[in-house]
């Protein structure tokens, strides 16, 4: 997985689009949700790690965000669900770009344990690119503010 900072910055860049502004906070929650429990799995044995793998399944996350949305005011629930799903989709999309020798991302779970990977960059490469990611996100925020100011 890319680090959570990269996931959050990528999502923040996308959140500068005008149509996503209303659900922006929830997209950030969605962008982090799949990895929230993954840190703990580092200290588990290989067989015990499997309980966190469904967190990268879009169906699992859809059910989870539906449940989470019920904790919110009724008027916010559609935004929580939609934002969460958008965030999770972008998170999983980024994860699929990295190289895996053995698959970890069961995006078709629970229907299949088939894994998918496009193998474009090694797992820790996003750390090296983090300054560039920060610069791109800052540029996106500045551009949006300039556009809003001009309008």
């Amino acid at each position: 997985m890319p680090d959570l900072a990269t996931h959050l910055l990528a999502q923040t860049t996308i959140n500068q689009l005008p149509w996503i502004r209303k659900i922006a906070p929830f997209t950030l929650l969605g962008a982090t949700a799949p990895d929230l429990v993954k840190g703990f799995s580092r200290w588990a044995t290989p067989a015990e790690k499997w309980w966190v793998y469904p967190f990268h399944s879009p169906l699992f996350m859809a059910i989870l965000f539906y449940a989470v949305s019920l904790l919110f005011h009724e008027k916010d629930r559609p935004y929580v669900f939609a934002g969460g799903i958008i965030g999770v989709s972008i998170h999983v999309g980024l994860d699929l770009l990295q190289i895996h020798l053995i698959g970890e991302y069961f995006i078709f779970f629970p229907f299949s344990f088939q894994t998918v990977s496009f193998g474009l960059f090694p797992p820790e490469a996003t750390l090296i690119w983090l300054p560039v990611t920060i610069a791109v996100t800052a540029a996106a925020i500045i551009i949006r503010k300039l556009i809003v100011k001009r309008a």
């Binding site: 959050l8 923040t12 906070p25 990895d35 499997w50 309980w51 820790e124 750390l127």
Partner: protein
């Protein structure tokens, strides 16, 4: 679903079983820790704490404590033909960067979200800062 996945994982074959089942074909050796390395023979440890001997090629420089993934063929108890090498440099740093990012998100969430007797709600005036 987590429970189902956990029980599926209980049946997962260890790296040792996978390598033996591959019988001469390349098999993956993910997240192996380098214990020692001299000349072209390295001792590495898998996630099941099993030690392996690897005939290490010069083109992939390694040092003790490095975390690496690769593909190789198990032959006479030694892994040969190492390829598809990944150096997991920054594996621990990534965890700390992620925890830092999570802490920042938590601070923003406290600003964006409020709680009352009807549940959690989005504070209208702060949503534009996301």
């Amino acid at each position: 679903m987590c429970w189902f996945s956990y029980w599926h994982g209980k049946q997962e074959k260890s790296t040792f079983q996978l390598a033996n089942a591959a019988s001469g074909h390349p098999s993956p050796f993910p997240y192996m820790q380098v214990i020692s390395c001299d000349e072209d023979l390295c001792i590495i440890k898998d996630q099941w704490e099993r030690l392996w001997k690897v005939q290490w090629p010069d083109r992939y420089p390694v040092s003790p404590k490095m975390l690496v993934s690769f593909k190789g063929k198990l032959s006479s108890g030694i892994i040969k033909d190492v390829n598809s090498f990944i150096n997991h440099k920054g594996y621990t740093l990534k965890l700390y960067v992620s925890l830092g990012a999570l802490a920042v998100l938590c601070i923003f969430c406290l600003r964006w979200l409020g709680v009352d007797k009807m549940g959690i709600y989005l504070r209208e005036k702060n949503q534009n800062s996301a």
